[in-house]
């Protein structure tokens, strides 16, 4: 795509362990336009954080990274090999999950924010401190002058995450990767931080990759959503399209796990049965097949590729939700009582009917 800020093609990350090669990320591709937000959604171990770290050149040296990543036409991995100094932290930065541990406990907040200004932009100490004060104000921290002289342990979790964000924004990046930026925070603080990130992104025309396990977080915040599972892209679509006509059974299952405010209290939470696969095993079929209500015989032997389901909507599934093949697969599995992978369909009888979840009827 022309004019993309970030172009990722066929990104794979492997870790060689004693049990074999762990394929943490397997053939992920996407584009990100300037100023756009991409939501990356998936369970723990789906490879979303590893993808982010690969982009940031933060993976340990023993990680086997393949594929190409271009940032504004420049090859990111080539820059990493050349030890490019003023790229990471300047044009592309990252905010991590846990603000309790992502700040250096022995350095003052001011020191930590001014550091990248001084290293990358060669600001004087005084100018950098003034800028750091401005940044703290932008991220909504009261009394910035006082905060600059405090240590991280003197701040609350929400304030710390704001400091982390201010630190990331210091050099005016064009792309911010936020890796579960609110997972470690209180629910009430979560919304503030997400809204703050959104406002800052808009004000600065910055692109953002928002990584989360919560589909609810990306709804209304991301322009595009990529759903990952076991290192693979399962579905990718503009956000509105994804929520209106999701095609992948995994996306559907993820959405069903979110408790809804209008369900009666004491309704059981609905987990996705089973566990994510050990990605050490070489996968013949679809990695989600063992946990999938729609799985058919072909899912076990033949790994589905991404196919188009409309403008910008890609999905890797043999029996996509809401399509004739998907509807047929699910009703066949329901009447048989088990899926092709041997999953007991009885596990789903407790579920809220899918039709209630407000998406196009999988069961008609």
């Amino acid at each position: 795509m022309a004019g993309a800020l970030l172009t990722v093609r066929d990104l794979s990350v492997g870790f060689l362990t004693e049990q074999g090669l762990v394929r943490a990320v397997d053939g992920v591709s996407f584009d990100l336009e300037p100023g756009q937000t991409l939501g990356v959604v998936g369970e723990s171990g789906s490879g979303k954080s590893v993808t982010a770290k690969a982009l940031m050149n933060l993976l340990p040296s023993y990680a086997q990274v393949r594929g190409t990543v271009d940032f504004d036409g420049r090859n990111v991995f080539a820059m990493a090999a050349n030890k490019e100094k003023h790229f990471w932290g300047v044009e592309m930065t990252m905010v991590f999950q846990d603000p309790m541990t992502s700040l250096n406990p022995v350095k003052k907040v001011g020191e930590q924010i001014t550091e990248s200004l001084r290293v990358h932009l060669r600001r004087s100490r005084r100018d950098a401190l003034a800028e750091a004060g401005d940044l703290l104000e932008q991220v909504g921290i009261p009394e910035p002058g006082k905060r600059l002289t405090q240590y991280p342990h003197e701040l609350s979790g929400g304030l710390r995450q704001r400091v982390v964000i201010a630190m990331a924004l210091a050099c005016g990046p064009r792309l911010l990767i936020a890796d579960e930026p609110t997972t470690a925070l209180d629910v009430t603080v979560q919304k503030h931080i997400l809204d703050l990130l959104d406002d800052l992104r808009r004000a600065r025309g910055m692109a953002m990759i928002l990584i989360t396990h919560d589909l609810g977080v990306v709804k209304g915040r991301a322009d595009e959503v990529m759903v990952m599972y076991a290192g693979h892209t399962m579905e990718e679509a503009p956000t509105a399209t994804l929520f209106a006509e999701m095609r992948h059974p995994y996306t559907e299952a993820l959405l069903e796990t979110i408790p809804r405010i209008d369900t009666p209290s004491h309704t059981r939470l609905v987990p996705i049965p089973g566990r994510p696969p050990e990605v050490i095993d070489v996968l013949d079929g679809c990695p989600f097949a063992p946990r999938c209500r729609y799985s058919i015989a072909r899912c076990l032997t033949d790994q589905p590729g991404l196919t188009s389901h409309g403008a910008g909507h890609l999905c890797a599934c043999h029996a996509p939700v809401g399509t004739p093949s998907g509807i047929q697969a699910r009703s066949a599995n329901e009447s048989a009582g088990t899926t092709a992978a041997g999953l007991d369909m009885g596990q789903f009888t407790r579920n809220v009917p899918v039709a209630d979840l407000g998406q196009s009827g999988a069961e008609g």
Partner: protein
């Protein structure tokens, strides 16, 4: 009570306790009177003065009177008839006022002996500490940066090698090579100017410092590797900082706790080690003086040395405690 005042009170408590134990031991395990006057301490002077016996062997009538005079003078001078706590009180009181007493053997004021000996020992300690820290910090950083690679494995082998050689053997090897064989360093302590003193203490400080450097290196390397796993290191990398900057500006300081603690505790080992090392390298320092004085039963000198060593130890460890709050601001909170 503030942190500092609490530390100070604790320090004084340790000082009084240890000096009392040392003083009591010197008086209870040996006889100070014997140490001063020798075998005349065994003469039953009460009997001599009463005219019941004549002298030690009872051959020359009246000849023991002079000796008994001496014994009586010694008892009087050193207040040996007072109870132990009173004597301790008098001794420590004088000590606090800077009066260290005088040697039993050559009647030289102990303060003169200390003034002569202490600077050399302190210089040796300082140099050994410099060797230990100066070598261990860059060494640990290099090893942690390349953890479990070839350089790190080689450095582990070297540090275990150094640790497995006893310090006196290491000292003698250095002495043989650099003094006897190549004649690079002087064989005796030269006290002409600062340079000659530094030169005379070089081998001794290497002997004391290198095994410590090996220990500190092991400790710091492990802590550095642990700190390198912390999330804030990832944050620092994401900020685009260089590995060198991350290591020295972000990782080193929070990793120093373990090492700093051991540096403080090891300062005692440094004093103990200096007793042997000063012998080997013929350095007229306090360790050597302590050794000689113990052999000669020179109580005031021994006790003065103990006071100096204990004070230094307590001071160093107080400094270490204060250093913690510099290293980690979170420690300051409960002060």
């Amino acid at each position: 009570m503030t942190f500092l005042a609490r530390r100070l009170a604790f320090m004084l408590g340790v000082l009084f306790t240890t000096t009392f134990i040392a003083y009591a031991a010197m008086n209870a395990l040996g006889d100070p009177l014997f140490n001063v006057v020798g075998f005349y301490a065994k003469v039953d002077c009460d009997a001599v003065l009463a005219g019941e016996i004549d002298d030690v062997v009872g051959t020359r009538p009246g000849s023991s009177l002079g000796e008994c005079q001496l014994v009586a003078e010694a008892r009087e001078k050193y207040h040996l008839d007072d109870p132990l706590p009173v004597r301790y009180g008098r001794w420590i009181g004088a000590m606090v006022q800077g009066d260290f007493g005088e040697s039993f053997k050559n009647y030289v004021p102990v303060s003169t002996i200390l003034a002569e000996r202490l600077p050399k020992s302190l210089m040796l300690m300082g140099m050994s500490m410099t060797v230990a820290l100066g070598a261990s910090i860059p060494w640990a950083v290099a090893a942690a940066y390349r953890a479990n690679r070839r350089l790190d494995k080689a450095s582990t082998a070297v540090s275990f090698g150094i640790l497995s050689i006893p310090s006196f053997a290491f000292g003698i090897i250095l002495l043989y090579l650099f003094v006897v064989r190549w004649e690079i360093f002087p064989s005796r302590f030269e006290d002409d100017d600062l340079f000659s003193r530094l030169r005379s203490l070089t081998l001794a400080s290497l002997t004391l410092g290198l095994p410590l450097a090996a220990v500190y290196q092991r400790l710091l390397r492990t802590d550095l590797i642990t700190t390198l796993q912390e999330d804030f290191v990832l944050t620092a990398k994401a900020k685009g900082l260089s590995d060198r900057r991350i290591m020295f500006r972000h990782v080193l300081r929070p990793s120093m706790f373990g090492m700093v603690t051991v540096v403080g505790l090891n300062s005692a080992a440094l004093f103990a080690g200096s007793i042997i090392i000063e012998q080997i390298f013929s350095i007229p320092g306090i360790g050597r003086e302590l050794y000689v004085s113990i052999v000669r039963d020179d109580n005031p000198v021994v006790l003065a040395c103990v006071v100096v060593i204990v004070t230094a130890f307590v001071l160093i460890n107080t400094a270490v405690d204060l250093l913690y709050s510099y290293l980690d601001p979170r420690v300051r909170r409960d002060t």
